[in-house]
């Protein structure tokens, strides 16, 4: 922190509250990241018990999000934040919502896995786990950028979304081809398509978090021209 010419430092308690809120946000981020990975693992290994667990645990994620939101609203009401404090709390509200939605996608993949039941996937799952890896890496990077106030890293996340989109297109075309050739597998093909779509949406949510980081740090919305530079 640079040397400030004015008086002593104040509002230590508010600073602690903001720090706690950020820690809780990271904890929620870690929960949804694990849920995503678990949901795809369970789908791949056909572990229905694990899929059920992912579905159950989404309630915990939902509750945590509600708690976080309440805490942020309390701080806004009580502390009447302005400038970077205000931007931090607004970002926390947005980010907790994005994380909760990612949790919902993981839960969705859990449900897809249950729908598949004891049927084998119509093809070996390679690209879908890769999508999950990339999407969760983007999520981790976006939260890291949030904590470190790292705008450059946030822009990198925005640029990385193209890779997930490309993977999604690839999975989509491949599945379409299989389903056209054998209409009997359309139902199972659709399950995988849904899964790929959910993962693509998770990556989009990670970019939303990255956009919040840009706003939090700079006070300005994302510059689309900046994204293409990464």
């Amino acid at each position: 922190m640079t040397n400030r010419p004015m008086g002593r430092h104040q509002r230590a308690e508010f600073d602690r509250d903001l720090q706690n809120l950020q820690d809780e946000l990271l904890a929620l981020g870690s929960m949804v990241e694990k849920a995503t990975i678990k949901s795809v693992d369970a789908l791949k290994t056909r572990d229905l018990a694990m899929s059920q667990q992912v579905i159950r645990e989404d309630d915990i994620i939902d509750r945590k999000r509600a708690e976080l939101e309440e805490r942020a609203v309390d701080l806004i009401a009580i502390q009447q934040p302005v400038a970077s404090d205000l931007r931090m709390l607004i970002a926390a509200l947005h980010v907790s919502m994005e994380l909760e939605r990612i949790g919902d996608y993981a839960e969705g993949i859990g449900k897809i896995s249950l729908m598949m039941g004891d049927q084998p996937p119509i093809k070996p799952l390679v690209d879908i786990p890769r999508m999950a890896e990339k999407a969760t890496a983007m999520l981790r990077a976006s939260l890291d950028a949030l904590v470190k106030h790292d705008v450059e890293k946030a822009y990198k996340v925005l640029a990385d979304d193209d890779e997930v989109d490309a993977l999604y297109d690839q999975v989509y075309r491949e599945l379409l081809l299989i389903m056209v050739q054998d209409p009997k597998v359309i139902e199972r093909g659709t399950y995988l398509l849904w899964t790929a779509h959910d993962l693509e949406r998770i990556a989009d949510r990670a970019t939303n978090i990255a956009e919040q980081v840009v706003y939090l740090v700079t006070g300005k919305q994302v510059d689309p021209n900046q994204v293409s530079r990464y």
Binding site: R4, P5, M6, R8, H9, Q10, V82, A83
Partner: protein, 263 residues
């Protein structure tokens, strides 16, 4: 006496350039540069001792009344230098009215409080109409219309402050300076004064000193942040549109002050 022109080409009503202000050998203000936009509210914020009230009093030469006070630099009001030797300070104070922290009605009737400034300026129009118009502008008419002969001191604090605003408005100034106009009032009266400031800014230029950050954010179009240096001279750190100052200030000293962490 130099006539002060009604309008200038720009939207700046008050333009301050390289202003230094001294009380004897003590420099109270250092190198102030500020343009005040016409028909808007400008808030001066900053810690105690940063020279906000001193600066405010430079705008209608109220500091002239303090022995040893002197000003260097320029204050242009509608393009005219208000510190030019040919300018009569009382003329300035007529055009640049002032409302103080503590409501200070004269120990006279409500009517006479409002009529006072008009009378001493030889007003020849319809006094009843002028008083009513001013009281309406100050959002006080409905509360006092049946007791205009009652003493101004019988009113509540919030009403007294609105009476002072009516008194300031009566002489139809261009600028109204307000030095913490609501700090002695309860929250409801405070909001009434804030509403009034917004309303008045359609026709008047308002410059307000406030310690209440939320008030500055609510009422002002422009915010100027002042602080003081090691030599205790007050100076301007940042001036900007209020939205920008309160969401994304440029200077970290402003950030530190408005978020309540420093200063």
């Amino acid at each position: 006496m130099t006539t002060i022109t009604e309008t200038t080409a720009t939207d700046t009503t008050l333009s301050v350039t390289n202003l230094d202000m001294y009380y004897g050998s003590f420099r109270a203000l250092r190198d102030i540069n500020l343009d005040v936009q016409r028909n808007s509210v400008t808030a001066l914020i900053g810690p105690s001792g940063s020279g906000k009230s001193t600066l405010l009093r430079c705008f209608n030469r109220m500091n002239d009344l303090i022995p040893g006070a002197r000003v260097e630099g320029q204050v242009l009001f509608n393009g005219e230098d208000i510190y030019h030797p040919s300018i009569d300070p009382t003329e300035i104070r007529l055009r640049v009215g002032m409302v103080f922290q503590k409501p200070n009605p004269f120990p006279k009737s409500i009517y006479d409080n409002v009529a006072f400034g008009l009378r001493i300026n030889g007003f020849r129009g319809n006094m009843d109409e002028a008083v009513e118009r001013s009281l309406r502008r100050a959002a006080l008419w409905d509360e006092v219309k049946d007791r205009l002969k009652a003493s101004g001191l019988t009113l509540s604090g919030g009403q007294q402050q609105r009476l002072c605003i009516a008194r300031a408005v009566a002489v139809q100034p261009d600028i109204i300076l307000m030095d913490e106009p609501a700090s002695a009032l309860d929250p409801i009266s405070t909001l009434a004064i804030e509403d009034l400031m917004r309303e008045l800014s359609r026709d008047y230029t308002i410059i307000v000193v406030t310690h209440n950050m939320q008030q500055a954010a609510r009422v002002s179009d422009w915010t100027a942040f002042m602080t003081m240096g090691e030599d205790r001279a007050g100076y301007l750190v940042e001036v900007g549109d209020t939205h920008q100052i309160f969401t994304n200030p440029r200077d970290e000293r402003t950030e530190g002050y408005i978020t309540g962490r420093f200063g």
